[in-house]
Subunit: 213 residues, 4 copies
């Protein structure tokens, strides 16, 4: 399993959480990654944590201002990027171009979507992975694997029907090892989470709580 912790625009110390994530990653069989804001990618990657961007621009190098160019993310230490997160939706053509941009810069890709139909749609664009996050469960505290397990298994099936090589993640409401295990049982290759770790009083303990039971 791969657990990716999105720091969003939380008022937190990204280096401290990344340091904790790198330690848990080293001590356990679970792979942990972190997704800080673009400006924090450099110092976060220097902790040794597997570092992802929250978003990459679909553009090629050129006259574009205020957008995170894939090459700029990569040269500061990112090894992957979320695309089309529910808080950063893109047009279909931009999703397609963002996957191409990430490939160009050597970044892995996880493309987010709302439901199994949309998962099939983004799987058709050839990303490394897709992630299903039902909008109504984001930030709800109720894990998707419990509130709506079929959405996870349907997403796994939908992606496999289009491209069996595409990994499938799920997200929304995940905060315990039980939730992570339930996601794995439903066929997910990993989970996305955010506040459960990044806003925890003790992020290291929260991460430990995800990988041990």
């Amino acid at each position: 399993m791969f657990i990716l912790v999105n720091f969003k625009a939380y008022d937190v110390d990204p280096v401290a959480i990344a340091t904790a994530a790198a330690a848990v990653d080293a001590e356990t069989a679970t792979n942990i990654g972190v997704a800080p804001q673009a400006a924090d990618i450099g110092p976060v990657s220097e902790t040794g944590a597997t570092t992802w961007a929250q978003h990459t621009s679909p553009v090629e190098p050129g006259s574009h201002t205020g957008q995170p160019l894939a090459e700029g993310l990569a040269r500061n230490g990112a090894t992957g990027t979320l695309i089309n997160h529910s808080e950063r939706r893109l047009t279909l053509a931009e999703i397609d171009a963002s996957i191409r941009a990430a490939e160009r810069a050597g970044l892995d890709t996880i493309v987010c979507a709302n439901n199994p139909d949309q998962i099939a749609a983004v799987a058709a664009l050839g990303p490394d992975a897709v992630a299903v996050e039902p909008p109504e469960l984001i930030g709800s505290g109720t894990p998707v694997s419990q509130a709506d397990p079929s959405i996870v298994s349907d997403a796994v099936e939908a992606a496999a029907g289009v491209d069996p090589a595409v990994d499938v993640y799920c997200g929304a409401g995940i905060s315990t090892a039980e939730d992570v295990d339930a996601a794995a049982d439903l066929g997910a290759d990993g989970v996305l989470l955010a506040s459960g770790v990044a806003k925890a009083e003790d992020p290291a303990a929260a991460l430990d709580g995800l990988v041990t039971e």
Copy 2:
């Protein structure tokens, strides 16, 4: 005069250009700033160059993904931010909120706009500075101070009519000391430029050429 060099999403070495900018800034009476991509702010600010963001998100800390939070830009070394660049247009409410976000994080602000009426509009929102950039001249190679000098003097007058404390910059097509001097003669407090320096074969020489005659 303040010269702000926007690195856009150019395929350039941001640290090398920033190092050159810091040197010219130290050796001359002209203040030079640089605006790299968000992920490059840390290494660029470590050169000692005055570092600006190309864009800041209007949001407050919280559940927002893939947006550059003002606090995140500031903690990595940015001291100011462009807002509403012609390649990163915002709604009016977002411009207002972005100025508030920058103030919250201690970032200076330059809000871009197309013409004198829009300059008056953004001056009413209380930024530190405004910048007029006629869209048809961006990247044209023809300096705004020569192609349409009245747009600069009208922008200076428009901003002063709303708030005399707001500085006024101009941009588009500027590449020589003569262009910079012409902007100053028209009442501008500084200039924005991009390709003239950032894509020059020798950025240090291009910067020298802006401040000496």
Copy 3:
């Protein structure tokens, strides 16, 4: 006073409400206008009601798909258009261009904004009128003239400071004649409302209730 009733995307009979509005307009000293969806402008204007668009595209005639061209709204009976409604925010450059598009087609303009600073900003662009609608009060049932009267008087002052010829409207939570009178006492030239009339069980009675006490 001018009362403009926004039909939004409500599931209502636009012709029936417009017919009621035209009757109240004819029988009283208050001017009533209605703002249906673009596709309903023709049949609504045929009732004799003063018909406004909810939005106009900033574009000039040409290769643009799925946008309401100002000339198309006008030829079907619209005499004015809202611009930058809180549910249809535009960039500053688009607000400017939308005012120009409306002028080109002979449409009156009301540009919406959140607060007095933004009112000053949009007044600088030369619309016929501006409308202040505090986002937190929209749909709240609490009239802006009661919840935050200073926002209305400050907006009136802000607009007058930029351009005394610009009319000022207010909106959010208005549903009674008392609310309308309070808005007038604060210096407003008119009010915007929506659900209070459009979703009323008896829209004609709701309109009567706005103009008589």
Copy 4:
């Protein structure tokens, strides 16, 4: 074959072109539809022409301003709607919701996309039809069936691989019966065009030229 003529935001007489389209539709075996701006849907549909919207909002009835609600388009005479036209791009979630909105209102759907991968993506969302339009050929005068025939046959194959019930259209540069026949030979069920008819000096003759050789 179905030929859908997009009137875009052209400065043309929509009723005149629609009248010509209805006549050609009645006189030939080819089905002709027209896609006027939202405000023109009523008078255009009264000509008897098969009338499509250029865009429908993804929203359900409610508090949404300046967006064409599917029900509003349908009650004024539209029988179908384009979705995600290259000049009106939507996020993936909006494309999905727009298809649902159109179904709710009884409108047929054609979802546009750039290339065969994106065609597979949108086919996964269950529209009635998809349309491939290579952006670089739009308005080029060079028909897609001639410039890049494999993009059409690849799109037909990509859609069939996802859902054989989805019709496939192509567009960009089509202006003659030869182009239409070439599209049919490549497996297309119809074509989208715009300026070739809508901006022709004699739209009726241009339509005749599409269906006879």
